[in-house]
């Protein structure tokens, strides 16, 4: 039984150890303002990762969520300037969902491998974002757009709440809905799922749509923080999001996984980032540390599987 527990919850122990180590190493770490900062800093990463988890469990892979994040930020900013923040929000999310649908169609009925397909759209959408922004910074003139992230609700920022609600929705979909069952089935054994009457293509496509929509929302939250956007917003965030999903112990093979795992991954990356900051370590090394953690986490998972099955 012990190796099982270690396999399933090893990464949680790592998070706890990291948390304790940081509490000891820095006086500031365990203050409520710092903890709130950590969570709020994790909002865009966490939203991409939670929605991306659905795609990965369904057996897909969405490399383009970062680019969708950028397109939606630019679209949201432009529409906010021309009409208003509410319309901008809806238009941005719909844009994200639409681009996600394109991914979903390409990777199912289009029979394109998920890595290749979303790598392609990622490059294409990235170009679209830069083109829409006119290769420069788009400033948002209507300051009320900032309320999307900065509204204070019971001492917590609205962006943090949106993130936590996103995570809750994704967990609910996975565990409590027919769609969730179909997602696990499609990723776990597409042939068996299809023979059980699961519409596997539709299911997978829906996960891409969800991923696109939440990536768009995340992009607009980031835009609302600074009230300025460039087309390149979000080009690297997708790798951190995928890293968080995998560090948490979700299987890249699909069919297995949970939102809490992704949240653990998000927290680990965010605490490390915070730690570099608090301890005054050159942030240049952070990438190396993150990379090492992914390899250790995924490698340990592979070895644990090898010995238990």
């Amino acid at each position: 039984m012990r190796p099982d527990v270690l396999r399933d919850y090893g990464i949680v122990f790592f998070l706890i150890a990291l948390f304790i180590a940081m509490s000891l190493a820095s006086d500031v770490f365990l203050t409520s303002s710092n903890l709130r900062n950590i969570i709020d800093g994790a909002v865009p990463l966490g939203m991409l990762a939670c929605a991306g988890t659905l795609v990965i469990i369904a057996g897909g892979f969405d490399l383009s969520a970062g680019a969708i994040f950028g397109v939606a930020a630019v679209v949201g900013a432009k529409i906010c300037n021309s009409t208003g923040p509410e319309v901008a929000l809806v238009a941005g999310v719909l844009t994200g969902a639409g681009l996600g649908l394109v991914n979903g169609i390409l990777c199912t009925v289009g029979r394109i491998n998920a890595f290749v397909g979303t790598l392609g759209t990622s490059i294409g959408y990235g170009g679209l974002a830069v083109a829409l922004s006119g290769s420069g910074i788009v400033l948002i003139s209507n300051e009320s757009f900032g309320n999307l992230s900065a509204t204070n609700l019971l001492g917590i920022k609205s962006s943090t709440i949106i993130f936590l609600v996103t995570a809750a929705i994704c967990a609910f979909v996975l565990n409590r809905t027919v769609l969730g069952r179909h997602i696990f089935g499609t990723g776990g054994n597409p042939l068996a799922a299809r023979l059980s009457g699961v519409p596997v293509n539709k299911t997978l496509a829906i996960t891409y749509v969800i991923s696109g929509a939440f990536a768009a929302l995340a992009g607009m939250i980031v835009a609302s923080r600074t009230l300025s956007v460039t087309g390149n917003t979000g080009t690297t965030i997708i790798f951190d999001a995928l890293a968080a999903i995998l560090i948490g112990g979700n299987s890249v093979l699909g069919g297995e996984g949970a939102i809490w795992r992704t949240m653990v991954g998000v927290l680990i990356l965010s605490i490390i980032s915070n730690g570099f900051n608090l301890l005054g370590i050159d942030p240049l090394y952070q990438q190396c540390v993150n990379g090492a953690i992914i390899l250790v986490a995924v490698g340990a998972d592979a070895w644990a599987r090898r010995t238990t099955t």
Partner: protein, 506 residues
């Protein structure tokens, strides 16, 4: 050298091989003479392929000794076997389709120095092999663009290029046309004339009799007999391949009403995947067995009927009404259900729970607006677990951790969660132990007694005969026999399946 001619080329001494609790090969002793073509025949699951893989080093024997040229050997990999001149050409060709003929032939035995290929050297070797075999193949063609028969030649060239003196061929003609098969016979005879030993496994008995010098018959993992092919005929081989396992008792079948209106009628169903013009009528309470060799098109037909594979012609009537079934989802909606062939490949989602697997087709019945009602789902699943006597810690147990027999029951649970009118069962007891088998037979009989119409596809002849009221036989994608159980015998079923019906009747 004089001595070599007398010692067998390859000799097996009391070789056994177990897979889990199943004895695939049991105490086989066999000598294969150098420079002969040695036929190996038996029913599906008789242990032929396992035995050949032991000789080829792909699996190691649980016990027993292998000898090559009179010397004890033990292979830990196919490479070891190759070093002793033994090569296997499997049912599934092991080629890299995107690479050239030349690359495939020398894959793993490239001419090179210090990691650099010596291409001109390789070409010379290739030409030499082509001369030895008398083949004519373009070394630069991509293997994927060749016909199956030519791909097979690439495998043969590869074996010859590695100086294989002993070549195992497992069902080489299964996917070839008549003309291509005859060309292959010539090639095989040519190899023999050059002193190569061939172990030839085939379902086609006439072919074995025509080619082989000696024939070995296996049944249930046992070596039944070996003798000169000249002393055998299709009939004697079929008789030797038969054999009854008396450990199992089949429950009494209730009579089905032959005049009841059919619940399912299939007329002239054809599909791209290898079945043509298949008719089927199923009445309530009737169990129809479908026999045939592996690859005869039975599973393909079942999947076509179930909407899981494209059909090109034919019509399906349920309760007399024509219906279109284009997806498994529609099949379930029309009251069909299917227990699929392989739990692992197309049956279960191994990483998920019993509850998730068994409710998968009918989630709409335990959900409101897409949100699951866990309570009612759990109750349904617990009911089914009790009804089918699935041994488990509960509905949340992950399927992967169940025994084969219990996994099979989960597969049944999925089909029975909403009582179907027609149940298609593809291999009801594959890979389950005797105790669980008995339970599954009783379940099938009870379901039929309750009025369900059942199609049982099985490669185990006794299973089909023990369960069914009526037996259909498929061969090469077509229905070749339809007989009532009281006139069906193992002989005439096998004769139809092997296509030797004419000779048996005469």
């Amino acid at each position: 050298m004089a001595d070599l001619a007398k010692t067998p080329h390859v000799e097996l001494i009391d070789v056994s091989r177990n897979f889990g609790g199943v004895q695939a090969v049991r105490g086989v002793s066999l000598a294969i003479e150098r420079g002969t073509i040695h036929g190996l025949v038996g029913e599906n699951g008789a242990g032929k392929s396992t035995l050949s893989k032991v000789v080829a080093g792909a699996i190691s024997p649980s016990s027993g000794q292998l000898r090559v040229d009179g010397e004890d050997v033990s292979f830990s990999s196919p490479r070891d076997a190759l070093n002793h001149g033994i090569a296997i050409i499997d049912q599934e060709l092991a080629l890299v389709p995107a690479r050239s003929v030349l690359d495939n032939v020398f894959l793993g035995s490239e001419s090179g120095q210090g990691g650099l290929l010596q291409l001109s050297e390789q070409r010379k070797r290739f030409d030499a092999v082509m001369e030895r075999t008398g083949f004519d193949l373009d070394p630069d063609r991509k293997v994927g663009s060749l016909r199956i028969a030519d791909q097979q030649k690439v495998e043969i060239i590869r074996a010859v290029a590695r100086d294989a003196a002993f070549i195992i061929m497992d069902e080489p003609t299964a996917r070839l046309t008549q003309v291509e098969s005859e060309q292959l016979y010539e090639i095989i005879n040519g190899l023999k004339a050059r002193g190569t030993t061939i172990l030839y496994i085939s379902h086609f008995l006439e072919e074995v009799l025509q080619l082989a010098d000696n024939v070995t018959v296996m049944r249930d993992g046992l070596h039944i007999r070996t003798g000169p092919a000249a002393n055998e005929s299709s009939q004697t081989l079929v008789t030797a391949m038969l054999g009854r396992d008396l450990e199992l008792r089949f429950p009494d079948r209730k009579l089905s009403d032959p005049d009841a209106d059919p619940v399912l009628e299939v007329r002239g169903l054809s599909g791209v995947s290898g079945f043509e013009d298949v008719d089927l009528t199923l009445r309530p309470g009737e169990i129809v067995g479908m026999a045939g060799l592996i690859g005869a098109g039975r599973s393909e037909f079942a999947r076509g009927l179930f909407g899981a594979e494209r059909t090109t012609a034919g019509e399906i009537l349920i309760d007399g009404e024509p219906v279109k079934i284009r997806s498994p989802r529609q099949a379930f909606a029309h009251g069909l259900a299917m227990v699929t062939e392989s739990r692992k490949d197309d049956g279960l989602i191994m990483t998920r729970s019993i509850a998730e697997n068994s409710m998968m087709p009918f989630l709409s019945e335990v959900s409101t607006m897409g949100v699951l009602r866990h309570g009612s789902e759990k109750a349904r699943v617990i009911d089914m677990i009790e009804q089918l006597d699935i041994r488990t810690s509960g509905p949340q147990q992950v399927v992967r951790n169940l025994s084969g027999g219990n996994q099979q029951k989960v597969l049944f649970a999925k089909s029975l969660m909403r009582t179907p009118k027609v149940l298609i069962i593809d291999e009801p007891t594959r890979g389950v132990d005797v105790g669980a088998k008995q339970g599954i037979y009783e379940l099938i009989t009870e379901l039929a007694a309750s009025g369900m119409a059942i199609l049982v596809i099985s490669s185990e002849l006794e299973e089909v005969m023990g369960l069914a009221h009526r037996i259909l036989v498929m061969r090469r994608g077509r229905l070749v026999a339809d007989m009532n159980i009281d006139v069906a015998t193992e002989e005439n079923i096998l004769a139809a399946a092997f296509g030797t019906a004419g000779t048996v009747a005469a």
